[in-house]
Symmetry: C2
Subunit: 390 residues, 2 copies
Amino acid sequence: MGLGNAGLPLAAVIANHGIQVVGVDIDRRRCDLINSGKNPIPHESGLDELISRHGGKELVATTEYRDASSCSVFIVIVPLFIDENHNPDFRTLESSFRSLGGVLKRGDLVVLETTVPPGTTEGIALKWLEESSGLRLGQFYLAHSPERIMTGCSISRLREFPKVIGGVDERSGIVAYDVYRRFIPNLRLVSSARVAEMIKVMEGCYRDVNIALANELFRISEELGIDFYEAREHANHEYCHIHMPSTGVGGHCIPVYPWFLINEMVRRERAENAVMLRTARELNDRMIHYWMDRIIDACMHIDKPLAEIRICIHGITYRQGAKELHHSRNLALAKLLKSRGLKVGAHDEMLSREEISKAGLEWMDPKDADLVFNSFELSVKLRRHREAPG
Amino acid sequence: MGLGNAGLPLAAVIANHGIQVVGVDIDRRRCDLINSGKNPIPHESGLDELISRHGGKELVATTEYRDASSCSVFIVIVPLFIDENHNPDFRTLESSFRSLGGVLKRGDLVVLETTVPPGTTEGIALKWLEESSGLRLGQFYLAHSPERIMTGCSISRLREFPKVIGGVDERSGIVAYDVYRRFIPNLRLVSSARVAEMIKVMEGCYRDVNIALANELFRISEELGIDFYEAREHANHEYCHIHMPSTGVGGHCIPVYPWFLINEMVRRERAENAVMLRTARELNDRMIHYWMDRIIDACMHIDKPLAEIRICIHGITYRQGAKELHHSRNLALAKLLKSRGLKVGAHDEMLSREEISKAGLEWMDPKDADLVFNSFELSVKLRRHREAPG
């Protein structure tokens, strides 16, 4: 259920193990592509080959849940968005589980792969399934195994990276483990679905906090006239893993997961249990203000009125190499500068003029700009400049 | 200059490379021990052998700076304490540098190994030396090479661990690098003393922030009924390094270094550049309140008035295996419980009854306690208990 960036590579890997897979997705065009052996995710290494080999054969894509009614294992890997208060919007997930309940039979296994707040699988996911199927846990099995893919290298991740799986009860865990180890070589059974959920969320929190720390140490280094990258290179060793600085953290994963824990702690009147996560999240989101100030500082060197300086943000996707604008801090930075009245345009190797315009920005050739901010290199370059004043 | 836990292993390693070393320390008894071939730091692996081989011969200890007047390389590795506002107390360092200035000659090299706020070596340390020696930089050389020892394995650290060195000017860096590589196999020249200082401080910040994150994820896991240790085991891999939880961070190093940066940012009106460091520092220091609550919660299971329950804190040194109470959070936890009026005693394998009493606590045999909190295992054990009420 879900043939997106995470679901399709998994479906293809399972099919490649000689197991018949039915993939359900709402996107009919995507289904048609897959069934004709064409890969709809071009940048995913190794996926072209698997789809051309199995698409329409061992892997059949469909928009209809009933086409999956003969299956005995159901893997749910649909997106989970968060609303403006950083709470999960469970509607897509609920709709998938309720549709799935309509075809669920005695003895079937359901595995949720979408990253969710700890407690979701044993809580609402189980409730949705029981309500829609008329069956009780024990008549079917339910487990959680968080996807650990990374866009671009999902196939090798599935083949090599450790993957965890945990059941909502002991029997579910064992059944799910036995199924998954047929196609996941590095599989680990953990004590519960909740622990499996927490493992994935904790990983995201580690990343977010350590990117925030890198951003903070970068800012302090700049303030003290120290080359952060030189210091980082020598500080890092077996026990020290200082990350790289950035304009913040974008995409659907890392900026989302910490809120699962922060909001749950607030609901329980335990907000003091999530101060690191909240501070890191806010710092990373506020990094665009730091870079705005750095860009405006650089305008001091341009011999033109501030209102006439043409600024180009080079790179507006959320990270280099991923054609994705969700929670992109580079896009947010450009819009922030624009909201200050500055003349801002954008350039991105992965996006056309139309796509940039659709994102709410003007396309600008870096050659026509007075100042170019490279979002991925974090460099500010001037085209026409003068000596610093004062 | 300074034959403490960091200075003595370094002096012994240099002597073992066939270089004549004069060690200066204010502690006459320690000097006498070393000169008779006896190691004053018993738990330091490999040090006994080096001191017995070189003590009083290649390594001569003395309380007088003038005994070092024939030396041409001076290494300063004296303690730096911080005051109640978390600002460094430079008095010991200043006194060492000024005394050293009295014996400094043209062509000599001075290397500071004490971890200091970035900018200290090129700033006040250079000033002290120039003022007290009457020489100018260029007539002598000055560099920084932060000690990276760890109590118990300092010798192997010096032999294997990467060590950085940076000069206050280019020539000083080159001269210092050429001297140090005679006895440090894994040596790296960095662009300045300031970068060398920052490298060490950044390492400490990484540790403090990641211990705070581990403490936070532990608290959230406990709240959600998740086994933190199980989740951590599976979350950690090549790109994820979640640390271990604790009662906080003690000793002379990690809890001190973040304040170097936090306070400097406050002085520059840039406090917003150090929010992660401050949040982590405060969270780690506040962990004793969390553990106090956990201990009081456990008292609910003891069939006695709260005021009569005997509580034993097992382990009050700042970490297991180090006989050191400086900024010990375990000691602070015991005192916090005592300040609430609870009957608290302490037990520690590394400390005698008298040493525990000197630390302001009563010695207590864990066998005589109703509740034992093991500070290193983070376990609460009850001796006489009843079913939980309610």
